[in-house]
């Protein structure tokens, strides 16, 4: 019974992006679908997921650094996603861990990050943000008067919003 429920949930989410109603979605939207189902993979993990489980569907130009192209079919996606959900992979990040992450970046330990600091870390470290992603994060996180990111408050706000 539970399996059925999970399958239906995955199908519903898949359908939202199935524009042609033919049980396929553009591979570039797979990340959104997987994340909306409760998982929190990194870009690298996502890339691996698509490559290892769904490579046959995607065009073979899956070189490092390059954007994958092609379509993912529901019949391939469904079993893979069921497995991911049942194994509880890529669990969301607990709030306290997130806070710690910000604190690591906050070298001066002042309780906030300057705009420059955040931009530098987010666009040069880890799995860098695109300019669009950066701007969008700043629009919500930046306190325009002080030009800083009060990350405790920011996190608190985001957590409320999630629920």
């Amino acid at each position: 019974m539970r399996l059925q429920e999970i399958q239906k949930k995955i199908k519903d989410a898949f359908e939202v992006f199935d524009h042609e109603s033919n049980d396929t979605v553009d591979v570039r939207e797979i990340g959104t679908i997987i994340r909306s189902l409760g998982c929190c993979p990194s870009e690298g993990e996502l890339h691996d997921l698509i490559a290892e489980d769904l490579l046959s569907q995607v065009s073979s130009r899956m070189v490092e650094e390059e954007e994958p192209t092609g379509y993912i079919r529901l019949e391939k996606f469904l079993p893979m996603m069921v497995k991911v959900l049942l194994e509880r992979r890529y669990r969301p990040i607990p709030e306290d861990l997130l806070l710690q992450a910000f604190e690591v970046l906050d070298s001066a330990k002042e309780g906030f990050l300057t705009k420059e600091e955040l931009v530098k870390y987010m666009t040069e470290e880890g799995e860098p943000f695109t300019q669009e992603e950066m701007e969008e994060m700043l629009s919500a996180a930046l306190d325009p008067e002080t030009n800083t990111i009060q990350y405790r408050d920011y996190l608190a706000m985001m957590v409320i919003d999630e629920n």
């Binding site: 519903d12 989410a13 939202v16 042609e20 994340r35 870009e43 943000f129 992603e133």
Partner: protein
């Protein structure tokens, strides 16, 4: 060597590593957040779209319903017959002198207290600019000037071909705009950002100027004014909303009657004569074709150029064609708005077109057991039909001559016959105005809109090759970014009404074409407020609006939902699983929405993943009830039918006075009751009419009308309830309940 010298290095390395890890963590978390927002945005969008299309289908159903009624109900007196024919046909004022007289504006005086803009004819560029300024300041143009502009517009449009040909050689750059739908802010913004029309700045507006938004008439005045002032540079295409039948439902008729209480009727009448003269398409450099909806695999430019476009007043169907009935029979789950009972009805009004072709779908006679019968009859000859009818009614011979006075030639209910155009030509225009592109190959009927087609990339390719075109520009569909390419970038959809569903729902866009015919798109959102909102806030706001609309719809179907829920709750525990909830809701609403994804927003209280559905329905009711003081059990029927009823009211109210007479009311009730299977005698209808007229002014206004409907529906449901109660005592199993 030694830990002293390696420690700082090691420490730095460690720090770099943890910074990297921290960054990844934050990015990972943020990307998930954005993904969830994106999912919400998509769902919100599909809610709006499905409700919008459901509304359009309602419109089609409404017309089907009316046609069916008129086909199967026999008026017992010639008064009733002419009432029926009047209901569907408005006399065309084809002759100019008649029109001059009816829509005369010269006799309308502009009072001294009028503070709006004054116009003199012929119009000058200054007048057009003055109009824009005046409307910005919320002034209203006087009816006299409105009518004058409409007159001039018509004279100008009459000279234009069906397909307007433009050249970039002449005006360098051409700006093409899509649907505006009465949103004046967007038009003003376009002129602000792109510049006012001028001999150096050409514009094409691709239809749907009116309906939905609140400033449709102002938009029309500005567009027509610029068209008159810069006839070579300013061009308009007709859209599916440039149609008085569509206007009845979607707000333009209402807007005009509200703003012009004295002369509104004249204006609406005149508008019909102007809309039908709007060109059907525009061609730029012979390479870019611009139509409002799209094309079909039958689109024939030669035919389109030749037909008499002004004869097509409306592209909305009046009668059910046989192929449509086939659609219904193929099990497409469209619940009829009124339960169509197949009981025997007396003979229908007779048609008098023995010469015309066999489009006799509207000449059914005698007893109509089911729809298959109807299509069978269609194939028989008209003459045979007439004979049978006469016999059944008791006439021994034909008495066609006698009937002539009651059936002026224009009273044919088939839109083609009515408008003196043949079906093929009419369909060409309907396809141009209503079609939508689809990703799959092929061409199929556009069942969502009820008119036009869905056309695939191969249809586009064929069209382009046949006429040596480079690409198509069309509008008709709202897009989140204001534009969208499809069919391998050969079709561009351009939509200029930003915030169409709700503030923040979408951008508007226009496209500029230079000599190279490369499209340059400009996007905007004509509401400053949205710029200061974050994506999250924008999405939340639009989402709230969509969910509110969805909850209204859910409420309107409460009793059907209760029945569906009960069918999943066989043990009578009052609880169902969330999965069953999703299935039940879809089976009732047929909106094709991702219910499981939406569920968290619609169902908030669950116990052990189970939902107590009766209290959920109660909560829904409480939320809706807080707006009105009507008995809850009937509110849902009213809600479900409110916009349909309003439309019916406006159709009956043919002189747009906002009131219907007792007589008109009685006629319409007879039609309703024959279909709702309620036996009401003439007397009781009269009593009903009298009692409905709450303010005793001898007329019924829209609110009284709705109230009347509620009361009759109440007695119908009470009887049904009684029936069910009686059958329950004899059967042990539950059936789906009515209202208690």
């Amino acid at each position: 060597m030694g830990s002293g010298s390696s420690t700082p290095h090691h420490f730095v390395l460690q720090k770099a590593e943890s910074a990297f890890k921290a960054a990844v963590l934050i990015q990972r978390w943020y990307r998930r957040y954005i993904a969830r927002l994106e999912m919400r945005r998509r769902c919100t969008w599909s809610i709006f779209q499905s409700i919008e299309y459901a509304g359009q289908q309602d419109q089609v159903k409404l017309h089907d319903f009316f046609s069916y009624l008129v086909d199967h109900f026999t008026p017992s007196s010639h008064n009733e017959r002419s009432f029926l024919s009047c209901m569907f046909t408005e006399k065309r004022l084809l002759k100019d002198p008649e029109m001059e007289k009816y829509c005369d504006y010269e006799s309308i005086e502009v009072p001294d207290c009028y503070t709006g803009p004054h116009l003199s004819f012929p119009l000058l560029p200054d007048h057009a600019t003055a109009l824009v300024e005046a409307f910005k300041q919320k002034k209203q143009l006087h009816a006299r000037y409105v009518l004058n502009i409409l007159h001039e517009a018509r004279s100008h449009l009459m000279q234009l071909p069906n397909i307007n040909r433009l050249s970039t050689g002449y005006s360098e750059e051409i700006t093409v705009c899509g649907d505006l739908h009465g949103q004046l802010d967007d038009l003003i913004f376009i002129f602000y950002k792109n510049g006012l029309p001028s001999p150096e700045r050409s514009y094409v507006f691709n239809g749907d100027f009116v309906d939905r938004g609140k400033d449709s008439i102002e938009i029309l005045m500005i567009l027509f004014a610029f068209m008159l002032v810069y006839p070579k540079e300013f061009h308009l295409n007709r859209g599916n909303h440039e149609d008085h039948i569509v206007n009845l439902r979607y707000g333009f008729t209402k807007e005009v009657m509200h703003k012009y209480k004295v002369n509104g009727k004249k204006i609406l009448k005149m508008l019909q004569e102007v809309f039908c003269w709007l060109p059907l398409a525009t061609l730029i450099d012979g390479k870019v074709l611009i139509t409002h909806g799209g094309i079909s695999d039958k689109t024939n430019l030669e035919l389109l150029e030749k037909l008499e476009r002004h004869k097509i007043i409306s592209t909305m169907k009046y009668t059910k064609k046989p192929e449509k009935e086939k659609l219904v029979e193929e099990g497409r789950s469209s619940s009829p708005w009124f339960p169509l009972k197949s009981r025997s009805v007396p003979s229908s009004p007779l048609r008098l077109s023995p010469q015309k072709g066999s489009r006799s779908a509207s000449i059914p006679c005698s007893f109509i057991p089911n729809r298959k019968e109807i299509s069978k009859r269609v194939r028989k000859s008209v003459q045979l039909e007439l004979e049978k009818c006469w016999q059944q009614v008791g006439f021994s011979e034909f008495k066609i001559q006698e009937e002539l006075p009651f059936f002026p030639p224009e009273s044919e209910l088939d839109p083609c016959d009515l408008q003196g155009v043949d079906y093929e030509e009419w369909k060409q225009v309907a396809d141009i105005l209503w079609s939508d592109p689809m990703p799959q190959e092929g061409c199929k009927a556009n069942t969502v809109r009820g008119e036009g087609c869905y056309f695939g990339p191969n249809v586009t390719e064929q069209m382009l090759q046949k006429h040596s075109l480079q690409f198509l520009i069309r509008s008709h569909e709202c897009k989140p970014e204001g534009y969208e390419f499809c069919h391998n970038r050969k079709v561009l959809t351009i939509f200029s009404a930003s915030n169409y569903y709700e503030v923040g729902s979408n951008r508007g866009a226009y496209v500029k074409l230079g000599r190279d015919l490369i499209p340059h798109i400009v996007q905007y959102q004509a509401n400053k407020a949205t710029h200061t909102l974050t994506m999250r806030q924008r999405i939340s706001r639009v989402e709230e609006s969509a969910l509110r609309a969805l909850r209204e719809k859910l409420f309107a179907h409460s009793s059907s939902l209760l029945g569906a829920f009960k069918s999943y709750d066989l043990d009578g525990t009052n609880f169902i699983t969330l999965s069953d909830w999703s299935a039940a809701v879809e089976s009732v609403l047929h909106l094709g929405l991702p219910w499981r994804v939406l569920r968290p927003q619609l169902v908030t209280h669950t116990t052990n993943n189970m939902l107590e559905y009766t209290s959920w329905l109660d909560d829904l009711a409480k939320e809706q009830l807080s707006h009105e003081n009507i008995q809850s059990s009937l509110l849902e029927v009213l809600y479900r039918n409110r916009s349909n009823l309003e439309t019916i009211f406006r159709i009956i109210d043919s002189d747009h006075s906002g009131l219907i007479s007792f007589d008109e009311f009685r006629q319409i009730w007879k039609l309703f009751s024959s279909h709702m299977n309620i036996d009401i005698s003439d007397e009781s209808i009269c009593d009903l009419a009298r009692s409905i007229d709450f303010n005793k002014d001898g007329n019924i206004d829209i609110n009284e009308f709705l109230e009347a409907f509620r009361l009759v529906e109440q007695s119908y449901l009470e009887d049904k309830d009684l029936e069910l109660k009686n059958s329950e005592t004899s059967h042990s199993s539950c059936s789906s309940h009515g209202i208690h």
